[in-house]
């Protein structure tokens, strides 16, 4: 499907980049889970990494990528199956998912970064 509008180009490019990024993340994430089979201490040492400021900030990025990709994927599905091919409809949905991504990022970012300001994360 092609929607030759600039929002369409941007959402298409972001969909690709986030798709590739999540794919690479998922592979690393599963490899990290091997520590579960190595032993409790090794696993516990591994997950402490997620608690560091660097990983908490990186997780905000991961959450944004997954939210964008997932909502934009939903947008593509809606356009495909609704049969509505006007660029006006595609643009309308584009701004809805921009809004939803930001809306969901707010509580998500708060949850992920809150411990940084409470001195829990090391």
């Amino acid at each position: 499907m092609r929607y030759s509008i600039k929002e369409g180009m941007l959402s298409w490019l972001l969909h690709r980049l986030t798709g590739i990024g999540i794919f690479i993340f998922l592979i690393i994430h599963v490899m990290g889970a091997i520590y579960l089979k190595i032993g409790p201490e090794e696993w516990n040492h591994h997950v402490e990494l997620f608690n560091t400021p660097f990983f908490r900030v990186a997780e905000v990025g991961l959450m944004g990528a997954i939210l964008w990709h997932g909502l934009n994927g939903l947008r593509i599905i809606i356009i495909d199956f609704s049969g509505i091919r006007t660029s006006h409809f595609a643009k309308f949905l584009f701004w809805i998912i921009v809004f939803l991504t930001i809306l969901l990022m707010l509580p998500g970012t708060y949850i992920l970064l809150k411990p940084l300001f409470e001195g829990v994360a090391g």
Binding site: F23, V30, I34, P40, N51, G70, G108, V120
Partner: protein
Amino acid sequence: MSYKKVPGTFAWWFQRISGSFLIILIFIHFIDVHFIFGVENLEYETVAEKWNKPFWRIMDALMLVFGMIHGANGIESILLDYKKIRKYKAYWFFFIRAISAVTIIIGSWIIVTFSPEEGSVAKYESPVAEMRDESGSHE
């Protein structure tokens, strides 16, 4: 354009169906890891408790399988956009599929065969666990 994963092909349908499942699975995963447990409480013990229920093993396995096949399928459709890559399509596809297959096998192996080591859990005192115990937020 017959090389493309165009509407109507299996790949096209799979991408839409797995995508719909993934949005639900990943949403539950986020709630579970970040609201119910919290990233600071992901110790071995927590995983053992969670995977005590087959339901969660099944959820995690579904996420793994759908995610990896959806991702591989997506990467393949990106690769098909490049003329130079199309020439060696068979090799690229083999490479991508091999990576996904290995990841699915390793992931499934962990999910299916994980069984907590008897007695080894309590012995370990992570700094995070100590902090958690002090704040008394978890039993």
